[in-house]
């Protein structure tokens, strides 16, 4: 894993770029989120972890704007966006990737990435039909920007005209990241960015995430199961279980938290389990 000491001057004393406050979300009788609250500091990498079904994706969907919470608030750079429709959040600078790749299969890599910039472009229908003035200039400018800043950065220039459905999984995830970057985000929400990747792909993605934070100044919020990634990359970890925040803080601190360990390994004495396993290993060796 690359060297990851956080960039302390960026992480320090600024007001949170994203904040959720006592979020409660229910589907019928099921409480997906109960009083979830935490802050994301600008320029930080925050990880949201928890066992399956803990509510991580529901949390993301609420922040994205697909679910409206029963109570609580979502604040983006101090503005309350709890009831803001999802498409409008993009323009504010909130970008997001999905757990299952959500690329547009009918388009090439380049077109997918260009779509990320959609909410910042200005051409309207009439400009588009004529393609003489504004649309043409805008498209050329967009292309240059995407090529030089994003495609280069993510090392996907060799596949720019490929249809995304023809790409292997790892590259598709990278294209999705590229599209999210095209949105010129302030906050990038990544839902399991390295799910299903092998060692090498994971390391590449980790490097990209760090570079995104360092070179682009983007704040990263990610849901992740790969504990190595979480421990090495994040400045701050939030642990969810059964829709509630059971711990948050620096990675090492959270790792040692007994509540967190219990959530992952189930109830029952962890010490006794460890003993049994060690004892069994000794018995085998004997």
């Amino acid at each position: 894993m690359p060297d990851t000491t956080p960039n302390s001057d960026v992480v320090a004393l600024s007001s949170p770029v994203l904040q959720v406050d006592a979020l409660t979300l229910a589907f019928g009788g099921v409480r997906a989120l109960s009083g979830v609250g935490f802050e994301v500091k600008p320029g930080s990498i925050t990880a949201v972890i928890g066992p399956n079904g803990a509510g991580k994706t529901s949390l993301f969907n609420t922040i994205s704007g697909f679910y409206r919470p029963a109570s609580g608030r979502v604040l983006f750079e101090g503005h309350d966006i709890t009831t803001l429709p999802a498409p409008k959040r993009a323009r504010l600078g909130l970008a997001r990737s999905f757990q299952n790749i959500a690329l547009f299969r009918g388009m090439t890599v380049l077109d997918n990435i260009k779509l990320g910039r959609h909410s910042h472009l200005k051409a309207n229908v009439f400009d588009a039909l004529l393609y003489l003035g504004r649309a043409r200039r805008e498209e050329a400018e967009l292309r240059r920007d995407v090529e030089e800043r994003i495609i280069d950065f993510l090392e996907i220039d060799h596949i720019r005209h490929a249809p995304v459905s023809a790409l292997p999984y790892g590259l598709q995830k990278r294209v999705e990241m590229a599209r999210a970057l095209a949105m010129q985000p302030r906050v990038l929400m990544l839902d399991e960015p390295v799910a299903g990747m092998n060692r090498e792909e994971t390391e590449d993605m980790a490097r990209f995430i760090l570079d995104v934070r360092d070179e682009w100044g983007v704040t990263v919020l990610m849901v992740e199961h790969d504990m190595g990634m979480v421990m090495d990359l994040s400045d701050h970890v939030v642990v969810l279980n059964f829709g509630q925040v059971i711990a948050q803080g620096a990675p090492k601190q959270v790792q040692a938290d007994p509540e967190v360990i219990r959530a992952y390994l189930g109830a029952g004495d962890v010490g006794a389990l460890r003993q049994r396993l060690r004892g069994g290993a000794v018995a085998e060796a004997a």
Partner: protein, 345 residues
């Protein structure tokens, strides 16, 4: 990808016709289009105009169904709105020809917007069925309003352009074909910009589209409006071409015809709209030719209509089962073969 075509600027890479060979063919094509009316008989001119009108309407439907993924069986109804608007304006107001066409497009566009309003709640096949309902309701209106002349419809005098009456296929060709070309060009341009991309995004995965900042309802309505504008203009041209508009002129079957045209041609490609409309318009003529050549003589002509119906159905089924990406895909394969020749693909 064509061998040996290097681009040195981004603008060049985004051009519609990007190689010397393509530009040459474009020149040849334009020359042919300009010479054709002088060499062709009235029958072929008639066909050319009909093909052009169908290309315009099919391109519009392609925007909505092929690119945005909103299945519509209402294209004929929107054409009807355009046709009736043109007929009413020409006969009652005597307003100029081009103005009537634009008005026809606008009225059809408004109809499209109305039909598109439920498209957020009503998806996929349900939307298709809603468009069938819209089709029936407009048919009912056409047949029962005094304004539209009831079941006998309206007949209109020829269009007037610069003092010249457009009453022959030859004269109409010079209006219909350029208008169609402009519309097709507009559609091609659309998909080089963010608006076209947004349409495709909505088709492929509308949730992702929303996350990227595309307001779904607005863009779906835009797609409906644009495609029905195209239909309205095509309907207006149709009205000036046939000079009679009745409620039976735009039946549900015609909507099915256009849907079949874009399927056969290739949904989601501009070329597909052109090829499909051309093919579907010419097939009945081809059948007529075959029937004329058959030894049965006049007794066989009674079978022409049902055979045409069967062939129509077979084309739809055949293409869907064997070549779902349509003629455009076949064309692409042929081109690839020639690009790579003498290398194998």
């Amino acid at each position: 990808m064509r061998i040996g075509t290097l681009k040195q600027s981004y603008i060049a890479d985004a051009a519609l016709f990007d190689s010397h060979t393509q530009k040459t063919w474009l020149g040849v094509g334009t020359a042919l289009l300009l010479l054709f009316p002088f060499m062709a008989s009235d029958y072929w001119l008639y066909l050319a105009c009909l093909v052009a009108i169908n290309v315009a309407s099919a391109t519009g439907l392609n925007i909505l169904t092929g690119y945005t993924g909103l299945v519509s069986l209402g294209q004929a109804a929107f054409m009807g709105l355009g046709a009736y608007t043109v007929a009413i304006m020409q006969t009652r107001l005597g307003t100029p020809f081009l103005l009537n066409l634009v008005a026809g497009g606008i009225v059809a566009m408004l109809g499209g917007l109305v039909v598109g309003i439920p498209s957020l709640r009503v998806k996929g096949l349900y939307l298709a069925i809603a468009t069938i309902a819209a089709s029936f309701i407009t048919h009912f209106l056409f047949a029962n309003l005094k304004l539209t002349g009831g079941t006998s419809g309206l007949s209109l005098p020829p269009a007037q352009l610069f003092g010249l009456a457009l009453d022959t296929s030859f004269r109409l060709y010079w209006v219909i074909v350029p208008v169609t070309l402009l519309m097709v060009l507009g559609a091609a341009n659309l998909f080089r910009t963010r608006i076209g991309r947004a349409f495709i995004a909505i088709r492929d995965r509308d949730i992702s589209a929303e996350v990227l900042g595309i307001p779904l309802l607005r863009y779906k309505l835009l797609s409906f409006g644009l495609s029905s504008f195209y239909a309205g203009v095509a309907g207006g041209l149709w009205a000036y071409f046939f000079r009679v508009v009745t409620p039976e002129s735009f039946p549900l079957l015609m909507s099915i015809f256009f849907l079949a045209a874009i399927i056969v041609g290739g949904m989601g490609t501009i070329l597909g709209g052109i090829l499909g409309a051309f093919f579907m318009t010419m097939v009945p003529e081809l059948l007529k030719l075959v029937f004329d050549l058959l030894p049965g003589g006049t007794e066989m002509t009674v079978f022409l209509s049902p055979v045409r119906t069967v062939v129509f159905g077979l084309l739809i089924v055949g293409f869907l089962v064997f070549e779902p990406h349509g003629l455009a895909e076949v064309w692409r394969r042929i081109r690839r073969f020639f690009h790579l020749w003498p290398f194998r693909s």
